[in-house]
Symmetry: C2
Subunit: 209 residues, 2 copies
């Protein structure tokens, strides 16, 4: 029995039904194993839930690792370098949010944010916090805005990337498409990139006035 496969199924089930709502029987059955193997490997339902959170954090860290590493060299006063780094990171984020493979883990995270517990702690510590703080630092360097203003702007940048994931069905309805096809995604990415430049330019102007 592959533990990775069991964790993927657990993420899907916990994401869809929550810790209480999902059943270890259902998860075990979907993974083609006995329920008691969950007890053996993870100590029970709660242990499986935390292991699922760790699995998400690890997977996301791997997905963003190269993108984060590539931007590690941006200096304190390299505004253009910071902006280019933001373009790459937000662009990567939009692609991830648009892809189908983030659906299950996104729902898991969305729910965990609704009532944050130990699982959110691990996801934040594992990857999410690192990424968001890095984005905020880059906004700082790109605009010269103070920390708090940069962090608030970061929230609005991330929100644009997350819209296609959190509000997928509504977005598809509004755009009158069946799925997020390549041309639509390309147009959306271009819009978000252009928005980001417009926002950063305005923040630079606000700092200078």
């Amino acid at each position: 029995m592959s533990q990775g496969r069991l964790l993927d199924i657990a993420i899907r089930e916990f994401g869809a039904k929550g810790l209480e709502g999902a059943s270890t029987r259902g998860i075990a059955a979907a993974a083609g194993t006995a329920m008691s193997s969950i007890t053996y490997h993870y100590g029970g339902k709660d242990g499986l839930y935390l292991a699922a959170a760790d699995h998400i954090a690890q997977h996301m860290a791997e997905e963003m690792a190269d993108a984060l590493a590539a931007e590690a060299g941006v200096g304190e006063d390299d505004a253009e370098g910071a902006r280019a780094a933001l373009h790459r990171l937000i662009g990567r984020l939009v692609e991830k949010m648009a892809g189908d493979d983030t659906a299950d883990s996104s729902l898991f995270i969305l729910r965990e944010q609704y009532s944050p517990g130990e699982a959110f702690e691990r996801i934040w510590a594992g990857m999410m916090g690192q990424l968001m703080k890095r984005l905020a630092d880059l906004v700082c360097v790109a605009t010269g805005a103070p920390g708090l203003a940069a962090r608030i702007a970061t929230v609005t940048l991330m929100g644009q990337a997350m819209a296609v994931r959190a509000s997928r069905a509504a977005v598809l309805r509004l755009l009158e498409v069946e799925e997020l096809d390549a041309p639509t995604l390309h147009t959306l990415k271009a819009r978000i990139t252009s928005n980001m430049d417009a926002i950063l330019d305005r923040m630079v102007a606000e700092e200078q006035q």
Copy 2:
């Protein structure tokens, strides 16, 4: 037994655990009534779920009704009027998303968008679709951008407003606050408003070039 109160509790439970995960026993107990009264009033679990969706649609329609009505008079070529209307509508949306009273229904809607069914149909038809299409029309008038470009821009505007709701815990962590207090919310609203102007200005420039 107040049916409104039962539906509020149902929205909370269904939002947290999903249709399968939530239990009619738990919902009835929280509402201080017998489980069989759900069967009597709504025919069963599925009926209660759809009634909860209708309740959300009705409540949101009431909350946004005056804001939508006030913008109904914006003409076809009134770019400034359209921009002012966008400011008011998005501002209202940010406040709603920041408030605690949208937490339960937001989670219900987020989950329903993950695997849309009859319940999403009703929420979209009842309010959400109307609001998003109106926003897109206003972006059209404000920028002169064609329909598809305006709808895609609308997605990015809505995303900024929804970030504080969908990613609440992460936002609080990044901003290093315990809750979304008035000064923080004010700063965020100002940022989103300013972002919107920057985006719309850029779209106007893109159309003219």
